[in-house]
Amino acid sequence: MAATTPADAKIVAQQFPTTPRANRARHILGYWRHPVAQALVKAFLTIFVTTTITFFLIRLMPGNPIDIKIDELTKDGLMTYQEARAQAASLFSIDLDRPVFEQYLSFVGNLAHGNIGYSFISQGTPVMSIVLAVLPWTLFSVGTGLLFSFSIGVFLGLFAAYNRNTKIDHILSLGGSIISAVPNYFIALLIVIVLGVELRWIPITQMRGATSPGMQPGFTPAFIGDVLFHAALPISVFFLATLGHWILGMKSATINALEEDYVNAARARGLSDGRIMTAYVGRNAVLPLVTQLAITAGLAIGGSILIEQYFVYQGVGLRLQAAVTQRDYPVMQGILLMVTLSVVIANLAADLLYSKLDPRIGRAGGATGA
């Protein structure tokens, strides 16, 4: 019974009640069952697999970037093949003379030291520093947007479920469906061309960039205010793009929770509707949504490639787009790795949060004694 995520574990836990055999198995797999261990191993595996696949993609695909680079360098006749090969190899931090497996090991070794190659375009600049300069901006805007959309969306979804089939429910549900249907990059594009260019309601030229030119970084109110000003549009886009999903998801989860026996039992005990709504219905309904937080973040980061382009916001998406245009493969690879790492960490955090919220998963669980 491989239950690898909380969602899966819930399905498994519901289907397979405790039997003596399962209890024994549980005891043996005692440590493996602990959610923290599972989550860590899963995270590690994800990163491991991603790096491996990236390595082989780069090395082995037809028309792979290393060969392209070599061709490019030797094209003008300014370099010999050997020199070009050496340079390409150093840019990717790969030794081309050694067997593939050893190359792989040194690649992984380099990774462990934080060395993910050097940019093709800006010669000699370590990819890691390039990525670290832009990643926080994206994480900030995505994170803030998601934070708002989750809290507001969950509340609205709960409200819609409690007022089912009324006008407000129809508006919320339809609204949620509509905004979830619009691709997130289009929300950004529409803001630019409709609100910015056509109607001139938003000063998009002023809001370009992550910060205003000449602004000194620091914990000053001026700087923070400036950052927020520039991040307002990306944050709004991420907010709108994910809001619908939370509204609809929470509405459906709440409807299911309201049908549970313990809700009726709580009413029979004279508990107030307010208490039931928050601690009995709400807390149970929100659980499946927590498992989706990281996935939603991943999708949002994906859209940032275009979103940041439209707002000229110097985050990881804009940098990736530049790298793609310039065929700067080390940077592309580096961004893929670091973004995956970020999402994996976010996933881990979400899994841990879930195991804290749902006591059935957080502990070793199971009925004991009569």
Binding site: A268, Y280, N284, A367, G369
Partner: protein, 344 residues
């Protein structure tokens, strides 16, 4: 003495697409202080619908079309039907506590047992955590559970039997006058059933509350009840004391139920289930609803549904115009009817 709960001509309908389902029809009975009444019937007889209406927790599609539910404690009598919402909330659990079927899912899975005790107490105005805690410990002791272990536990960590005990303990928290238990032992194994029944018996003697319990299981009635009501197709078909019903049933359905219980000591081959199935509660026949399955039915039975008629024993009614025939077949002996049929 006024009965603590007096149900008068209660009728409840469910709204469905095909039409109203008459789930409860003209039910009347009383329960006195300290008395235990068992409501027995098969699935779909309306017993749960009836019970749930006593705390006004019926689903939205259910509607009380007529009747009264009069609840009395020492001070006053109220009609539950017209009780204002905030008084209703107070009434629930402090006056009348209902423990549902399948205690397995009666607890909020994400908060621990102590929180659920505290929630209940706080909902009724008790704020002092220390006092609540002391009371919880006292109650859990009463039901033979270890408070230290149970209070910090989460519902999924307890077995079915334990949860049922916790629910019983919880139900006693505000010292209600009336406790309603819906199928208290159905989902449990036989040994646990035994312990729960014993527990209920002891608690009742000790604390003196009235009990209504609903079951399809006659044996629990035999053990704990003072009076019994059998329900069929939404209405009461017989009302009697437990001994009367077991030894001197007067309605063919009650007889059928008794016959259907296998006996540990009885002869083989004497058990018989009642052939046929209950009627459609949307389109009810004009006469007695039991006619299709009744061994003593005559044409007059199908003409109109009989009222509850008093029979030859005191405080004993049966909704059957042929009760005398049933009495002849069953007799008045001290031997339990089931035993008699088995040896016949």
């Amino acid at each position: 003495m006024t009965p603590i709960l007096s149900v008068r001509d209660l009728s409840i309908d469910y709204r469905t697409r095909r039409g109203p389902v008459h789930a409860v029809r003209d039910v009347s009975f009383d329960i006195a202080k300290g008395e235990t009444v068992a409501i027995i019937g098969e699935s779909g007889s309306g017993k749960t619908t009836l019970a749930v209406s006593f705390i006004r927790l019926s689903p939205r599609s259910a509607k009380i079309t007529k009747g009264q539910i009069l609840y009395t404690n020492d001070k006053e009598t109220v009609d539950i039907r017209t009780l204002p919402d905030d008084e209703l909330r107070q009434y629930r659990w402090s006056e009348c506590a209902m423990v549902f079927q399948a205690a397995l899912n009666s607890f909020n899975p994400v908060i621990n047992i102590w929180e659920q005790f505290a929630d209940t107490a706080r909902a009724h105005g008790l704020k002092d955590s220390k006092k609540i805690h002391a009371r919880a410990q006292e109650l859990l002791d009463l039901v033979h559970l270890d408070p230290a272990r149970v209070l910090t536990a989460y519902p999924h960590e307890l077995s079915g039997g334990m949860k049922q005990r916790v629910l019983i303990a919880l139900s006693l928290m505000l010292e209600p006058q009336l406790i309603i238990l819906d199928e208290p032992t159905t989902a449990l194994d036989i040994l646990t059933q035994r312990s729960i029944i014993d527990l209920l018996g002891t608690l009742r003697k000790k604390l003196g509350f009235s009990m209504i319990f609903i079951s399809h299981d006659l044996s629990i009635a035999a053990e704990l009840a003072d009076r019994m009501i059998t329900m069929y197709a939404g209405t009461v078909v017989e009302r009697a004391s437990v001994t009367d019903l077991f030894y001197r049933p007067r309605h063919p359905y009650s007889v059928g139920l008794l016959r259907a219980v296998p006996r540990v000591s009885g002869a083989m081959g004497a058990v018989a289930s009642i052939p046929g199935s209950p009627p459609d509660l949307i389109r009810l026949p004009p006469g007695c609803t039991y006619v299709p399955r009744c061994p003593v039915a005559i044409p007059a039975c199908s003409e109109r549904e009989p009222d509850l008629l008093p029979v030859d024993m005191p405080d004993h009614d049966a909704r059957c115009i042929r009760w005398k025939t049933v009495a002849e077949q069953v007799g008045n002996a001290e031997v339990a009817v089931a035993e008699k049929i088995a040896t016949a």
